[in-house]
């Protein structure tokens, strides 16, 4: 089962590739109902955990509201519970000089106890 949530005005594009066991989140995140928005990821993670022992996560946020920060952290914590911290690899991309987004990744890494791969990318637009 693959997962695809298209990019919205205030929501990121989310894609889950079952064959490669990779979850990609890219865009800005400030929906009002964050729990409803992020719940499908947990359902997808449940299905992947039955077939794969490892998971790759690739995130790139341009902007993320505080309620989304907690929702994304909870999603990552759920993934950690299913796969174990040593079986998850997380790439955290951010726009050049965007310290705020990088710091959110550092906070997540600290709270999860998982080392992130931080990737600075050129600004778009």
């Amino acid at each position: 089962m693959n997962l695809l949530i298209e990019l919205g005005k205030n929501t990121p594009k989310i894609s889950g590739d079952s064959a490669r066991s990779i979850l990609v989140i890219e865009g800005s995140s400030f929906p009002e109902n964050v729990q409803k928005f992020y719940t499908p990821i947990n359902v997808w993670l449940d299905s992947i955990a039955k077939k794969s022992s490892t998971l790759n996560i690739d995130c790139k946020f341009y902007y993320i509201a505080s309620s989304s920060i907690i929702a994304v952290l909870k999603t990552l914590q759920y993934a950690e519970k299913l796969f174990g911290s040593s079986n998850i690899s997380i790439k955290w991309r951010y726009e050049e000089a965007d310290d705020d987004i990088r710091k959110i990744g550092e906070d997540f890494s600290h709270l999860l106890g998982i080392e992130f791969e931080f990737i600075e990318e050129p600004e778009e637009g």
């Binding site: 205030n10 400030f30 009002e32 902007y63 309620s67 907690i70 929702a71 965007d98 705020d100 709270l111």
Partner: protein, 192 residues
């Protein structure tokens, strides 16, 4: 005693006009955007994107623009999630952004229950007393507990706005009656 629709709007409108007068008093300042009334999610999206484009055109640094975007989204979503409704069933609220040569000032107003005034004031004054490191510590504490309320808030709104602005949060409480008050939050963002 319930406030009449007129009283509720008069009190909120009076504060809104006072803020707009203050912002236009100086020749170096101008109001770049304002709104009085309800906020739809679409309006929140539009305002946030319009201000982002305006600031980039005005030559503000990308970091400042992103911090403004963050403050606006947090503030406007706070209004939508936590703003109470008046007797007329409307979420009377407002916002205005003042552009000065050195700072932006963002004023956000909404109805709250008068019984909440003290709690909100305590939360803001506690944050204002904290050092940057202490505010970050509080942020990490809330993040660790990670609770999203039924309304969709995470309790990080004031903390995030304080962190992004790196200035004290100013506020006004205008009591309409013992049930409702107009709460105004003023965030100052340096342009440097």
């Amino acid at each position: 005693m319930k406030a009449s629709t007129n009283t509720t709007i008069e009190v909120c409108s009076s504060r809104y006009q006072k803020i707009c007068e203050d912002y236009t008093h100086s020749t170096t300042d101008k109001i770049i955007n304002s709104h009085f009334g309800e906020f739809s999610q679409d309006l929140v999206n539009t305002i946030s994107n319009d201000i982002e484009m305006f600031m980039l055109d005005a030559g503000d640094k990308k970091g400042t623009v992103k911090r403004m975007f963050s403050i606006l989204v947090e503030g406007l979503q706070n209004i939508r999630l936590h703003g109470e409704k008046g007797k007329d069933g409307h979420q009377t609220s407002f916002y205005a952004i003042d552009q000065g040569s050195d700072t932006y000032k963002i004023a956000l107003g909404n109805l709250i229950y008068t019984k909440s005034n003290k709690n909100i004031e305590t939360r803001i004054t506690e944050i204002n007393k904290m050092t940057r490191e202490e505010v970050k510590g509080l942020y990490m504490e809330v993040l660790t507990n990670g609770i999203i309320s039924n309304k969709g808030g995470a309790g990080l709104g004031f903390i995030t706005m304080a962190m992004k602005s790196n200035n004290n949060l100013d506020y006004y409480f205008d009591e309409i009656n013992n049930e409702l008050s107009c709460f105004t939050l003023i965030i100052t963002l340096d342009r440097k």
